[in-house]
Amino acid sequence: MKRRTTLKAGVALAAMTLAGAAFAADPIVIGAVAPKTGPLAGGAAVTHWPNIQLWVSEVNGRGGLDVGGEKRMIEVIEYDDQTNPQETIKAVTRLATQDKADFVLAPYSTGLNLAAAPIYQRFGYPQITSSASTDQIVELSDKFPGMFFLLGQNREIVGDAVSILNALREAGEIGDDVAMVNVADAFGIELAATAKPIFEEAGFNLVYETSYPLGTQDLSPVMKAAKAADPDAFVAWSYPPDTFGLTEQAIIEDLDVKAFYTAVATAFPAYGERFGAAAEGVMGIGGVNTASPEFQDYAARHMEVTGQAPDHWASGMMYASLQILEQAIEGAGTIDREVVTQYIKDHAFETVMGTVDFDEHNNNPEYWTVGQWQNGEFKGIASTGRDGAVPVLIKEGWE
């Protein structure tokens, strides 16, 4: 019997953590649902969870949120959705019905956000997504008026990457030949499908094109074939483990390209730590204005409170989504979800990523699309209207 109890306690501990204690003065209950286990847990551990920790510690350190003249602390209830959409939906339902959460933060990743949208809608929670990248923003915001989008659209992210290569070509730095690979997962397939016609329209020549399964342990055949095609630029719509794997193989194969692009995780601090000087000139999804004092200050606080650095893509947006919720609750002076949602639609917000003013489709029209490692930092080189883009570097080998 004793053994069983220990096991159960272990499972319970693993499945769910309750953060924050109960406060006497009627706290605001905020639910958080995202992966702590499963395929996307690694990304959520970099981008999602640390920001919640930072935000709660800051808000409660200030004495709580000012709701109509009354200071109220925040109590966060966290659930692990195991990277499983059904679990996300279950957890949101549980937060609404049993935990009586006043607000539920948007979940992590495109897929989980889309899957959970109807349940946020049903309970009237504003869903300020900071890690969802989709081309269906207009349709989604029509259907789910409380859903907001900070991270942008795939076709802009892909389009800007192609534009950068185009600019390099016009400057005479690279030729027409591009090798493009993608991870055979919803994200990689969608981006590759979006990218192909854009590349062709721009007059690029796809000399090598392939996909590889998620979790492939040996990417050397992919990189060897890409190298054999002798491209001028290499583009991978990749996920974290393969972003690292492809870069490592490119170094080993000494892939000689002037432009090297990998997708998710290129903006992670771990990428720079792992590859050091070899990362110089590598391009990837995301970017931030590293010169902005707001971002620098945020990065320092992130480091101090959570012990890790933020990534240079969605981390800042995740924190911005929390700032928006905070400012909307204080501005509206209530925790009435409908009023707060309307407040978000009607106002602009000052965040660590700059001013965010949602358009009529609940979309943040200004965001970073492409970044590049320069002098040990991942800096934004293209955006849809943010300040502070730095000039593009030519990739000069892997040393």
Binding site: V11, T37, A45, W49, T210, Y212, D218, G245, E248, Q249
Partner: protein, 288 residues
């Protein structure tokens, strides 16, 4: 030539993933679904010691092996022994152990998330190019292949030439008759399970030099190990090694000559073929 070497190196990786499970399943009769988590734990230990103390992963394995042996021995004694005792036959034990270790895998993921966070981890170790017959390969992968070869050879020789190894094989072939000739089957099963866990953790430490892992990736390795062990035949080390090499060569062949997108399909096609024509696995014995 390039394909053959790349394939063999990948086969070495697969052997490291699967050989521990073979010991656990073949001898102790525990279909351990928490195998991948043990591998990730070994990998994390190597990562932490390398980044924290600058200790080479190739030295770390000498710490990981005894630690994992002890942990797995304890797991067997505390958690699995009662299942073995009450199981009326082998089928029932397999069923129970699958359920129990499936639960164990969640506990281990939870513990790892709690202990080291859910973040991805990797590091650069021997990440250099070496030339073999004019083609370039990652040095860390070549070293891992050598480790796999050494480990498999050591296990094979030990199993076939030493008395302890012979006893373990006897238990694998027929636990009931082994008992009749005075072999302490429960004790040996515990040792085999612990040894299997130690081998898996060592494999994880070696693999961490070139794979990016996180607390939740274990299941990928469990799946791969399962396929390889079943393909090779339960309870025979040669089978696992041959199956790992076949899988490595097959996947590389398909990735290079046809399309990298088809590697998974190729792996499972091989798996189905072998199951169709040799349901007991390449080196397995037909069950009465």
């Amino acid at each position: 030539m390039d394909i053959i070497i790349t394939g063999l190196i990948l086969g070495g990786t697969y052997a490291l993933i699967a050989i521990g499970l073979n010991l656990q399943y073949g001898v102790a009769r525990i279909m351990n679904l928490a195998n991948g988590e043990m591998l990730v734990a070994g990998g994390y230990t190597a990562f932490a010691l390398y980044t924290g103390a600058g200790l080479s992963p190739l030295l770390t394995i000498f710490l990981v092996a005894p630690a994992a042996f002890a942990v797995n021995w304890a797991i067997y004694r505390v958690m699995l022994r009662p299942l073995v005792k009450r199981a009326p036959n082998r089928g029932a034990l397999e069923q129970d152990s699958i359920l129990a270790t499936f639960g164990l895998s969640f506990v281990m993921v939870g513990l790892m998330v709690w202990a080291f966070g859910g973040d991805y981890f990797n590091y650069a170790y021997l990440s250099r190019r070496v030339e073999i017959f004019g083609d370039g390969f990652g040095l860390n992968r070549v070293v891992a292949f050598l480790c796999a070869t050494a480990l498999c050879a050591a296990l094979f020789i030990w199993m076939n030439l030493s008395r302890a190894g012979m006893v373990i094989r006897a238990v694998a072939v027929s636990p009931d008759s082994a008992r009749l000739v005075g072999i302490d089957v429960p004790r040996l099963s515990a040792i085999a399970f612990a040894l299997g866990g130690a081998v898996t953790a060592v494999g994880g430490a070696v693999l961490s030099t070139y794979l990016t892992l996180d607390a939740s990736t274990g299941v990928i390795f469990t799946m791969k190990a399962l396929i390889i062990v079943i393909m090779g035949g339960v309870g025979d080390i040669r089978g696992t090694i041959v199956a790992a090499l076949i899988l490595g060569l097959g996947e590389t062949l398909v990735a290079t000559l046809i399309d990298p997108g088809l590697t998974l399909a190729a792996a499972y096609a091989l798996f189905i073929l072998i199951l169709l024509f040799r349901p007991q696995g390449l080196f397995g014995r037909r069950q009465a």
